[in-house]
Symmetry: C2
Subunit: 78 residues, 2 copies
Amino acid sequence: MKSQAVFYHAGCPVCVAAEHQLLDLIDTDKVNLEVVHLGESKNRLAAAKTQGVKSVPALVVDGQVLHINFGAAIEALE
Amino acid sequence: MKSQAVFYHAGCPVCVAAEHQLLDLIDTDKVNLEVVHLGESKNRLAAAKTQGVKSVPALVVDGQVLHINFGAAIEALE
């Protein structure tokens, strides 16, 4: 079964850099990858917080949160 | 040209979790991936620090450091 991954970002420089460095390496045969801009899609904030996202950029893989570097706290996007 | 990536870890629980969540998704057709245990390979510590690794687990992709969650400070491994 494919993994489910969501990359949460907010368009910040750290987010954009991480997106380019990391997402290009991901094997889309193994994972369904969705990219969500939390600054634009504020309706996704609650779910991200429930999953444990505390800052962006973050990659949530099958429900497990990987915080990658630090661009912005999620509270700053609300 | 393939990207060059090094996943630095120290066998800590956060490291092991990140390794499983992230490395399984990486497309090895796109990237040459090396996994380095800095607790065991202390001769790699200096190079990791020079690249900017401040904590483990970390993934260095073509010289750019992605710190992933926080397992241990690199100073704790010296």
